[in-house]
């Protein structure tokens, strides 16, 4: 009986983990990629402090084009 419960618990935990990972994968990552003349590239991810300055400007520009 205890073994069945453990299996059911593991199955439920695994399902929750799978749902979480799937949702995370489906979410589109917002970022700004910067390309420099020397060939280097810097990617500023949405959760970084630098993105707080860049992303609102990007959203504003896209809104202007799509409105």
């Amino acid at each position: 009986m205890a073994r069945r419960r453990l299996i059911a618990l593991l199955f439920a935990a695994g399902s929750l983990l799978g749902i979480g990972l799937y949702a995370r994968r489906g979410r589109k990552q917002e970022r700004v990629d910067l390309y420099f003349a020397d060939g280097s590239m810097v990617s500023v991810e949405d959760d970084s402090p630098q993105a707080a300055r860049l992303m609102p400007l990007a959203r504003e520009a896209i809104r202007a084009a799509q409105s």
Binding site: K28, Q29, E30, R31, V32, D33, L34, Y35, F36, A37, D38, S40, V42, V44, Q50, R53, L54, M55, L57, A58, R59, E60, A61, I62, R63, A64, A65, Q66, S67
Partner: protein
């Protein structure tokens, strides 16, 4: 239609991913756009501000950027004193869009240059020398 407008018209014809584009100078003045005036100015202003803010993040010459959001992507490419900003839908093929934008900027720049006059052939002078 100006030369800049022709370059943008060709861009939207070639690239199916580009929804809107604006060609502008470093001072923010719009040279050509696929959008109405007010929205062109807004797009150019935001794209210029973004490019300038990005330039301050690191030493080195920034040549192009892509900002990806859930609603679409913004591309800004600089060539000399000219910039082009374009908006594409979500998850575009960035390499192709950058290539098309840079080609468009170069086409606009080439058209601005006056064509060199063909060199006139030096006149042959008949020499009636006695050798």
């Amino acid at each position: 239609m100006t030369q800049d407008e022709t370059a943008l018209a060709e861009l939207t014809e070639i690239s199916s991913q580009v929804e809107a584009a604006v060609l502008f100078d470093r001072d923010g003045s719009v040279a050509a756009s696929t959008l109405p005036d007010e929205r062109s100015a807004q797009l150019a202003s935001s794209a210029r501000a973004l490019f300038e803010a990005a330039e301050q993040m690191r030493d080195g010459e920034l040549t192009q950027l892509e900002a990806a959001t859930g609603k679409g992507s913004l591309f800004v490419v600089r060539e000399g004193d000219r910039l082009i900003a374009a908006v594409a839908g979500p998850e575009p093929t960035a390499g192709l869009v950058f290539y098309d934008l840079r080609s468009s900027l170069r086409r606009a720049a080439e058209r601005e240059k006056p064509k060199p006059k063909p060199k006139s052939k030096p006149k042959r002078t008949k020499t009636s020398g006695s050798s």
